[in-house]
Structure formats: C-alpha cells, structure tokens
C-alpha cells in the first residue's frame, strides 16, 4: 500500500510517515505543492494525505488534479482550518475525510486503513486478528467463531484497536474517537475506562485472551499477550 503525505511542516510529515510505515505502509513525502504535483502525475498511490495550506499552493488544487488523473486514490485532508466551509468544500471536490490539526496519529492511521478497506473491498470484507473476526458490513463480532454482542461504542472501540494493533493509544485519542471533539470533560476518560472494562470482559467471556494491556498514565495497547 503506497501513501503520499503532502505536508509542509517537515517534522509532522516525518512523524506521519514513521507511524504509518510501522503499520506496513510505504510512504512518500512531498513538502511543497510542486513536489506533490510531480509525484501524483508520476506514481500511483492508494491514499494521499493532503495539508491544505502549502507555501506555494493550495491543497485543494492537488485534490482536483488527483481526482482527474487517479480517481481511485483515497484522499484525507489534514488542515488547521476548522471552518465548516472548508470541510464542505473538501468533501465537495472529492476528498474522503477531513481531519483538523492537531490530530492523533492513531486516529489518522485508523482512518487511512478504513478508507483503503472501503476503496479495495467496498466494505465487503472481514477483519481478522488472532481469534477475533469482525464482519464489517453486518457489524458483527465473532470471538473464536462465537458471535458476541457489543454495544455500538464497544464495537467502535474494538475496530479502533484492531486498526492500531501493538500501538500505545492515549485515553484522549480513544475518547475523541468515540465521542468526537466536543466531549472534553474528565468524565469521558472515565467512560473510556468503563467501555474498555466491558469490552475486555466480553472478549474473555467468549474464550478470547485479554488483549487489552493498560499502560500506566498513558492509555491502552491492544496486543497479543
């Protein structure tokens, strides 16, 4: 899977590529508009991550070009601009997702994976890891082939973990993934804790192992014990 990261802030571009490379993606970076323009006309990418504000151009123009020459490429906008107009415009010209800076790398990772899944399989596939199998279109979860009923939030949480295997996730990133940006109270961290507890219980009940590992002070990691 090849990913192009168009971002002028070199440190941030590096962080993104490091993180996504760990997940098995092949990443390339374009720091300027013209670099990006050149790369998209020369190579094929499965997904492009585009920053809107570039020193020598506008990210929207890159998206327009991409749509013309490689319509199958998934596009995720990352921008500091959080106005509704920008978000709507981004979706209108054909981007698949819009993330406002600062974002969590784990969230970006989850969205890239979900986007590639949708693009490649039309969503009609299973996600399998160890003895967990998730049937995405039906939103059904099987542990050792036994169906487990999860609440909507528990299901979202499990998918988030499955997209970020072996990755330390902060409590904040999990809370934001589940409830969005405006749930900023301390309560949401408690809620993360109780959802994790329930998910862990349900997996173990069906004979799965305890994959959720707590990391003191930081959050959780989904990993094979």
């Amino acid at each position: 899977m090849k990913i192009l990261v168009v971002e002028d802030e070199k440190g941030l571009a590096e962080s993104i590529t490091d993180y996504l490379s760990r997940e098995g993606f092949v990443c390339e970076v374009a720091n300027t508009f013209w670099q990006a323009d050149e790369k998209i006309s020369l190579y094929q990418y499965d997904c492009t991550i585009v920053d809107l504000t570039l020193p020598d151009g506008n990210g929207f123009d890159i998206i327009k070009t991409l749509k013309k020459i490689a319509a199958a490429t998934g596009i995720i906008i990352i921008s500091a601009r959080n106005t509704l107009e920008d978000k709507l415009k981004g979706l209108e010209i054909g981007s698949d997702d819009y993330m406002t800076k600062p974002f969590h790398l784990s969230e970006l990772n989850a969205r890239v994976k979900s986007l590639i899944r949708r693009r490649n399989f039309g969503g009609n596939n299973d996600m399998t890891w160890k003895d967990i199998r998730v049937n995405l279109p039906a939103r059904k979860v099987f542990i050792k082939d036994i169906e487990t009923t999860l609440s909507k939030k528990e299901y979202d949480l499990l998918l988030y973990f499955l997209s970020n295997i072996d990755v330390a996730l902060t409590k904040e990133s999990i809370a934001e993934h589940l409830w969005g940006d405006n749930m900023d109270s301390a309560d949401s961290l408690d809620m993360v804790y109780s959802h994790i507890k329930n998910l862990r219980r349900k997996i173990v009940e069906k004979g799965g192992k305890d994959y959720i590992q707590s990391i003191y002070g930081i959050g959780y990691k989904f990993t094979a014990p």
């Binding site: 993180y19 500091a80 600062p102 904040e172 109270s185 930081i218």
Partner: protein
C-alpha cells in the same frame, strides 16, 4: 422626517407667511389709494360748496340723488369747528339695505348762522373694486403658491434622486462579501464627492475585514501546526517499550498541556470569529429541536453520570441565525449543564415560542453570577475546563440578538436564552 418632506414643509410655511403679508400689504395700499381719491374729491366738493355759499349766502337742500348728497344742519350752542372724515352707513331708500358712504363733516356760516355740513360719497363702487382686486389677488397668489410648491417638490425629487439611489445601495452593502460598493453618478459634484468617499470607505472596510479574517485563519494555522507536531511526537514517543514511570508522567503532562493549548487557541479564535461576524450564513432554525438532537449526542455521558433528562415544551423556539453558531451554542450549553452536574442529578430542557432554557442540578456558585459569562471564569479548578464555554455562549447571543439570563434556585442552575 424625510428631507424632501421637511424642505417642502418649510417652503410651504415660509411662502404662505410671505404671501399673506404681501396680500395684506397690497389690500392696505389699494384701500389707502381709494380712500385718498374719495377724500380728495370730497375736499374739492367742499371747496365748491363754500364758494357757492360765499357767493349766494344761502343753500337750498334740494339734492335728490344719493350721490353728492349734501346735508346741511343748523347747529345751536357750542360746536367744535373741525373738519373730519368718517365712514357711515346710509339706508338705501329703495331696498332698505345700508350702503357704505364716506362722509366729510365741517362747519360753516350760512346767512350768519352756523351749520354743520356733511358731504357724502358712496363707497359701493370702490368696495366692489377692492373686492374684485382682492379676489383676483388671492386667486393668483394661491395659484402661484401651489404651482411653485409642486415645482419645488418635483425638482427636489429629481435633484435628490441620485442621493437616494446611492443611499439604497449603501444600505444593501455587505462588507463580508467581495462585491464592491458602487454609488450612483450624477451631475451634482457634491453627490459624486460623497459617493467617492463612501466607495473608498467601503473598500477599506472590505479590505480590513478580509485581512482580519485572514489573520485569524493564519494565526490558527500557525499555532495548530506546531501543536500537531508536539502531539505527533508524543504519540511516537509513547510507543517505545522502555519508558519509566517518571517518563510517562512527564509525557502525559506535555501531552495534556499541548491539547489544552490547542483547545484554548480554538476557543479564542472562535470568539474572535464571532466578534468579527464571520458566520454570515443565515437560516431559520428550530432551536428546540436542535437541542433535542444534541442531547442524543450526549447520551453516553448522561448515562454514565446517571443524569435524568426531562423535557418540557410549550412550543418550538424558532430563530434565524447561523447554523454553525446554533450548533456551538447548544453544544456549549448542554456541555456546561453536564459538566457542572453531579452524579445522579437532573438536566431539564424547557422551550417555548420565545425562549429555550437548560437547567441542571449542581453545587451553588462560588463567585458572583454576573461574572459567570466572562472569559476564563472557572467555577472549579478542574484542569479540563477552559472557562470559555459560557463566554462563547454569551458572545453568540450578543451577536444573534438573543438575551441570556442565569438563575439559581437551589439546587437548580438555569440558563435561559430569549428573543
């Protein structure tokens, strides 16, 4: 009062006063001339009479006609030898009406004895003349008044038309849009100058608005990007396997501080944007229904904190405002009602045609209620709260011409927004 109306009113009153004065003066002059004429004729007749009496020393009072009537009456006793003009009415001998006469009275000696002589002249003709002249004059002056008044109206209307057209365009002018202001050009230099000045001011306003907007956006970008970098680096850092307890604590602190700063920055930018009226889209919204939908987003946390929700609706609160602002307003109100609630508390949403009220149970305020809507006013020292939520709510209300009030009836805090 409109300029044209005011001008015509002043014009009408002033010309009416002048015309009345002119009319009175004119009437007075004609009157004076006619009297002068009659009186000088009477004086001539007096001379004739005296010449006649001096020559004949007698007077036979035989005149029959009304005109040139001379009345000679003997006087006994003392008299004041004086020549005087008087107005008098003499009854007409045919139809018993009283006709006006001018009378000259004087005393003279006829045959050695004193007589009072009154020579009269009818004023009927003269009065008729005065009447005719007056009527004609009133008619002409009136006509003049009306025609100049109408002329003045039409003329001013024509002259001021470019001004009113420009005014209408200035009223329609929106500095948040890119369309420049174009005033109406005319032959009148002053109006053109005014137009030039207005156009210059309008383009300056648009320019300032644009640069302010760009500044807020750029500021947001410039601050959020390094924050994104801090966040990303922290996320990478926590992936390392050999972190000590101290390290994770420090990292957590850095991470929290960066996230707080980012939210603070976003909050302040939002306030600036509302202040600068950058949310221009307007739509009629049902705030009661929106609030109800918003509550659904908070289902999880309501359940988690075991907060009972009660709804009471006496009609839906409709308001034309920006959908983005309405969303922020309601989110902040509900968030506030949840954050300052206690576990097992209550949240009540009430709405009517002209108000929406969010109430929640909670501990009494520690500070003055008036300062509740100020920026960075925090009730609890909890690090999670930024102290901007209600300031944003207040700013949105001020901007959308909504009133907001706070009330506390133990243990319920209520915030009400009204038209």
């Amino acid at each position: 009062m409109k300029l044209l109306e005011k001008a015509s009113r002043i014009y009408l009153i002033a010309s009416l006063l002048i015309y009345v004065a002119v009319g009175i003066a004119f009437y007075w002059i004609i009157n004076f001339m006619i009297y002068d004429e009659v009186e000088s004729r009477l004086m001539v007749e007096k001379q004739d009479f005296e010449t006649y009496v001096r020559a004949n020393d007698t007077w036979s009072n035989n005149s029959y006609f009304v005109e040139n009537k001379i009345e000679v009456v003997p006087v006994f006793g003392k008299f004041d030898n004086k020549v005087a003009f008087t107005d008098t009415l003499i009854s007409n001998r045919y139809d018993e009406t009283a006709d006006p006469f001018r009378q000259l009275t004087f005393y003279t000696l006829i045959g050695g004895s004193p007589y009072r002589v009154a020579i009269r002249k009818s004023m009927i003709e003269s009065y008729k003349l005065i009447e005719a002249i007056s009527v004609a004059m009133i008619a002409f002056l009136g006509l003049l008044l009306v025609s100049t008044f109408l002329f003045h109206r039409v003329l001013s209307g024509k002259l001021w038309k470019p001004f009113y057209d420009s005014l209408a365009r200035i009223k329609d002018f929106d500095w948040t849009k890119n369309k420049p202001l174009e005033t109406v050009r005319s032959e009148i230099t002053e109006f053109n100058e005014l137009g030039d000045v207005m156009e210059k001011m309008a383009s300056k306003m648009q320019h300032d608005y644009r640069s302010l907007r760009e500044f807020t956006e750029n500021a947001s970008h410039e601050i959020q990007t390094p924050l994104a970098l801090i966040n990303a680096r922290v996320e990478q850092f926590i992936q390392s396997k050999d972190l000590g307890e101290n390290h994770t604590y420090w990292i957590e602190e850095i991470y929290h501080a960066a996230r707080r700063m980012s939210r603070l920055n976003q909050g302040l930018l939002l306030l600036a944007k509302i202040e600068n009226q950058q949310f221009t889209e307007q739509e009629e919204l049902d705030l009661s229904e929106l609030a109800l939908n918003k509550l659904k987003d908070f289902e999880d946390i309501l359940q988690h904190k075991d907060i009972r929700v009660s709804l009471q609706s006496a009609g839906s609160f409709r308001k034309v405002m920006s959908p983005a602002l309405a969303e922020i307003l309601l989110t902040n109100l509900i968030n506030n009602a949840i954050r300052h609630n206690y576990t097992g508390g209550e949240l009540r949403l009430e709405s009517g045609v002209d108000y929406l009220q969010v109430s929640n149970t909670g501990n009494p305020l520690k500070s003055e209620p008036e300062r509740l809507f100020e920026r960075f006013k925090k009730e609890s020292a909890g690090a999670e709260s930024l102290g901007l939520g209600l300031a944003i709510v207040k700013q949105i209300c001020d901007n959308c011409e909504l009133r907001i009030s706070y009330r506390y009836e133990e243990p319920v805090h209520s915030i009400r927004i009204m038209l």
